[in-house]
Symmetry: D2
Subunit: 437 residues, 4 copies
């Protein structure tokens, strides 16, 4: 270890070894060309026990040390003596003070007023505002002049997510290999099991979906999932809603007949007619209320009261009156739907998936389903590292998941079922075709 | 040919054979299970001559025939006796009348008031409004109550784009093979040649770009192109601007040093700091005016007065104050920048590329550059069939294009050069490194 | 048209317009910078009628004209006065004479001895040997000293494949769009329909498959297809056979349990043990004979006497004793299995698919199924232009195809069924699970 | 910890924490549903120090424990008391004894005759033969009757590769992100630096390459690298050699002129003519000797005496006389060229890359360059986990690497240069164009 320079003692606690936390801390120091000494190390003697480590970190200078500590803290270590987090007032609306603390998507605490407080609604790349004994994560456009914003790294503690080892779920199943060489049916079964486990634990499942759900023929399976309560929130764009409504009202998707797959007469214009019909009715809800929309994903959302948010994008046709054309407002609506989500299923839409990845804490389960492997990888590279990618054809995979849910779900075991599930029971008896009715 | 049924005589004119127009018309009839007889056929005797064909089309019933004719007209044929286009008033704001004509992106004419009139600002999947002797293409959200909208297929004439055969360009070069097995340097040379030819013909080149331009190290090359006048309009989202400004002010992209590629101290927060700096300045233009932004793509756009439009999206960090958060308004700005474009270069952004594809007529040259082959294919499947896809690494390809522009460009030939090009001449002498300064 | 230069009159016959043949001929002339005049043009007056065209082609010089004609002949035109094909003796074994005619994969005829003769076993990029009044396509390594080989382009007539328009099949269905946005179930139904139509016409279906069939869990579905006579030939490499046998004897694929998808004890070595077991038995056939192999794809091939050929490759583990390690010999075996094939199904193996693409005439139906879109595109770029690509997850798609075959197949209609199909009837009754038994 | 059951004490030594070795051991135990207690743990106090851990592992039964230990040993732990490895004679040629130890690609030792001995020529999925005090890795087809083969897991020690932290290379650079969002120029510089570092350490660099090197226009850059001694071995298939020779002798690749990218007259047949020319000469070496081949990759290999091996495959045209048609023999040649390699550069060929990945120990540096991200991922999934993937366009990237080598290489520093480098020095002066001469 270098003589001279600056030093700081830090500690870490948790499943340091098997969750790679210690490896990440050591790596962070070495990547930053720092030096360290292990002052104390207690490894949990048994599976499930926590470990503890204390390190002395050294840098060439105070500045160098600060740079090292910056990454070390983000990897999960904390200084031995914790000081108060520094706060500075936002100079103007939508302007953060210099040196603002830039958040990760990990669970984070702030030491302020002599106590640790959890940061609410954790998101990536935002700042933290403290007021009235509470800390919350704030996007730049929501910053108000005078908000007290955390600056610097002191007084902030980050808990990197620990490796889940609950067993049986798709996360453990997939851990060490590429999904494109795993048995598809098994993956569907695991995803269904994770959904049911999330539901059993009281967690809400949010579906983030693109129009390929409809184009590939999975709309009925998804509508069934929504109708059965397996989807507790829907986040999408204009296209999913348009094509779902085209499919529900005209029996076509991209102008092709959903029944026999041939080009329908005047099919090319069907999605524009569907858009026009919604404008004429006023909104999707009014289409449902007036009996013009009687099936499909959007119908089931309205019928069941499942919250949904449709975000506008530059490539939209229309967009529908229900689409939030202002993206800043759409982000707010998305965050509301995501609040308290236990699991997020992202299907065939990189745009909305990356958006959602930025909005959720790192300990929310994320499953990404896409025909394109790079789409899956990209999301993880963007920081949603907890995401599990399944490279498959959604038109075949989602009906499989729905089928597994039906087989394994409560309805399959409890003959009575609840009101909301009764219709489904009857349909369930007809086998896989239930999702295609 | 069936006896009975309904019949209609149609005609077509143009490079019917080598532009596949006739093949498409025949195919359309057969796909719709119709029948036809060639009443007259005059093939242009020499290369460059137009051809003429007259067909008698038959269907099983009037309804069947109408369905056939619908596709036949869209493939480029017109009925022998042209009637007036039917017009109907829009019943409300943002609601098109039933049976509205749904546009293609091909050049289109409407027969109204006894004469053919061109439809202005042609776009895909819109309607056509006629007023004051002029026809224009109108998105649904811009429809006003009472607008006279074309309904039905009668009185509408479509000119499918003819196969370009001018020679020397990338379009001819690539015609029959996958780009990933073509010499990269040659493709760069051809794209540069097409750009120069477009410029020479007075056409404006619009660049549609994603942040990978910056991440892969092509920002200097693109900034050079803008600075030299090779880019006459920029369409992008928040991310391109953020990362360009991060790169220009902090020397990093995604937190990695652009100089030596290592993680910069505190690099992860640099893009958030860049965003905050723009909010503090008020806008990108004000950053340039105040001397805080002195290089890069956005700087060159401001300096040269190149129009740009940044469209908001649900995944934006910030977004920057310059970003148009309302997507409907962003579409209007995009259309303004695209007005009169002679060539569109789409680089590493599927979202904005599909958006632009929907907004431009089919006779505007489109080159798509992306590392992902499916991204390229998808655009063409969405109707932007004129697009030419180049599967390559933009970080290597765009600097090559810039180098070829420099070598082949006017500056290379005319020692004097114009005012706008003078600086470039001097830099040009320093070789390829010019784009990396 | 240029004065001077050289000229040649050519003619073409067939569905010149809707099969794009004429468009290709015109294009070929223009691409080669040639000139032409249409001397005569008779378009078939009705759907199904053939057309006829006569052109006068001109070049700047005899040499230029020859270059143009070279491409024109390959596009399907023939000279008005047909001369004898020139023949020259091969100077040595495995050496073709200078100027040898290099074949396409289109149906080809040679004019020799005053008559046209079909070239047997048409393949791409080979030469043509004429002897005893017959012409056959010969790979370079099979050329023997003294073989009389066609040289030059004269006396050779090529028939480009015409666009199939039979209706109902997947080829028509997919014609104009990307498969990844089509309903998966519909595509499976269409593929099954094409298979049944091929069988009904007496055609044999050859499956070219990679190990992903096993890894993704589709082995049972494929074994069922083989067992039911839906696959009349299997072309693969070492890996498909190894993993199928691992799956059949140990219940794992890549060491993962096929039943519940978890890593099996010692699973990593299972494929090596499977290989060792085959070596111990002597061959796959001997494993079946001795009762050690009782299920799976290879088992069904042996049981039904379905011919198969396993080609060695540099990446093989083992390879199995049944694998033909010499690739030249393996090519011969492949050609034998392909002889007379009416349809080829290529699944998840680019290596073997490209190999087969080079070996089959252009009028054999080819369906390519792969999770990767570029894999599908690459095959078409290599000259197998008749191929239809379906981008999907084979682990989900092939069971769907099998289910559709079962539903739509002869067994479903004819209660009696043939001997070979009886067992299947019984299993068929148990529903989709039949493929998973 | 469970009472009863079976137990075994194991130990591990090395960079246990920052190389994830301990995390992997813990994970292996938990994945196998085992239990453990940390008996002793000494963490290296400083960067660079080794750590030591001793664990007591328990299973429900001896059988369960053996299953756990199997994976624990493979993760790098060893039993406290090491016994002799069990040996059993191979019962027949090409048949391994039951229970044979199935190798990983990690450095491995066998305890036999009371001492540890290194296993020579380490490869994945082979067995280990011991004779005359030496152990070597043997493929199944090379097993001879009576060979003494290691069976069971006892007496075998595996050293998982430690995380390289030398700094400056592409491996560190890329560690945490997807290459497609990294600056291309930087990546080329890092690859060149790694090559030069390998050379400086006396390591040989082996290039594994596909024909896309030629098609994308990188043949000159690669030929320059070979000519300058930067490539010490070439592993490829038939296609690379054919297209390189087509390019060198006819100036075309896939029939397109390399100079101006247009289709060359008769271009489609050029690669078949190139093949015929090699057959006529007898071999590539004879073509060089007779002056018929004067440039290109294969020419430089012959001129410099760089060893190469061309493996046959089922899709080969020809294949060339130099191609080893028997894949088992080709594997032997590949292994000879790879013997002692310090770094392997894999470019655009999944087939040969996976083959090589199976043949090299896990501590050989591997860089994979491909336009397709899944191709890169697949290699890592197959066990070549040390591979670093760069998703780029080889036609642009390899010339960049060659340019960086030229700038940074010995020639740039030592004006004299060696005999083999003299010609290159002169060319080097002409700048980037040197690779394109």
């Amino acid at each position: 270890m270098r003589r001279g320079g600056a030093r700081q003692e830090v500690e870490a606690r948790g499943h340091l070894v098997d969750s790679f936390i210690l490896a990440r801390i050591f790596g962070a120091i070495m990547d930053a060309d720092g030096d360290f000494e292990v002052s104390e190390m207690r490894v949990g003697r048994r599976k499930g026990d926590q470990s503890y480590a204390r390190l002395l970190v050294r840098g060439r200078s105070r500045r160098h040390l600060d740079r090292i500590l910056n990454t070390v803290y983000r990897a999960g270590a904390t200084p031995m003596q914790q000081g108060e987090a520094a706060l500075r007032a936002a100079p103007r609306d939508m302007v953060m003070p210099d040196g603002f603390y830039c958040t990760t998507n990990n669970r984070t605490q702030v030491f302020s007023g002599g106590a640790w407080m959890d940061v609410g609604r954790m998101m990536m790349d935002k700042c933290i505002a403290v007021s009235g004994g509470a800390a919350r994560c704030v996007p730049v456009r929501d910053v108000k002049k005078g908000d007290m914003i955390v600056v610097g790294e002191a007084g902030v503690r980050v808990a990197p997510p620990e490796k889940p080892r609950e067993g049986g779920g798709v996360f453990e199943f997939m851990a060490s290999s590429s999904s494109s060489e795993r048995p598809t049916r098994q993956m569907a079964r695991r995803v269904a099991a994770d959904m049911l486990r999330t539901e059993a634990a009281g967690g809400r499942i949010v579906l983030v979906g693109g129009p390929a759900i409809v184009h590939t023929g999975a709309a009925d399976a998804v509508a069934w999932m929504v109708g059965k309560g397996h989807v507790g929130g829907l986040l999408a764009g204009n296209a999913l809603a348009v094509h779902d409504i085209e499919n529900a009202t005209r029996g076509t998707s991209l102008g092709m007949s959903a029944r026999d797959g041939t080009p329908a007469p005047h099919g090319h214009r069907n999605h524009m007619e569907a858009i026009n019909q919604v404008f004429r009715a006023g909104s999707i809800r009014e289409m449902v209320a007036s009996g013009q929309l009687k099936k499909g994903i959007m119908y089931q959302c309205v019928r069941r009261g499942v919250p949904f948010a449709l975000a506008g994008s530059i490539r939209d046709d229309g967009p529908l009156p229900d689409v939030v054309a202002d993206v800043t407002e759409a982000q707010r609506r998305y965050r509301d739907v995501l609040d308290g989500a236990g699991m997020v299923l992202m299907v065939s839409t990189m745009l909305h998936s990356i958006a959602v990845g930025n909005m959720i804490p790192a300990d929310v389960k994320v499953v990404v389903v896409d025909i394109s492997q790079p789409a899956v990888t990209k999301l993880m590279d963007r920081g949603t590292r907890q995401a599990l990618g399944i490279v498959t054809d959604v038109g075949a995979f989602l009906p499989m998941v729905a089928e597994e849910l039906r087989r394994a779900g409560p309805g399959a075991r409890r003959p009575g079922g609840g009101a909301g599930r009764r219709g489904g029971r009857a349909r369930g008896g007809r086998g896989g075709a239930a999702f295609r009715a």
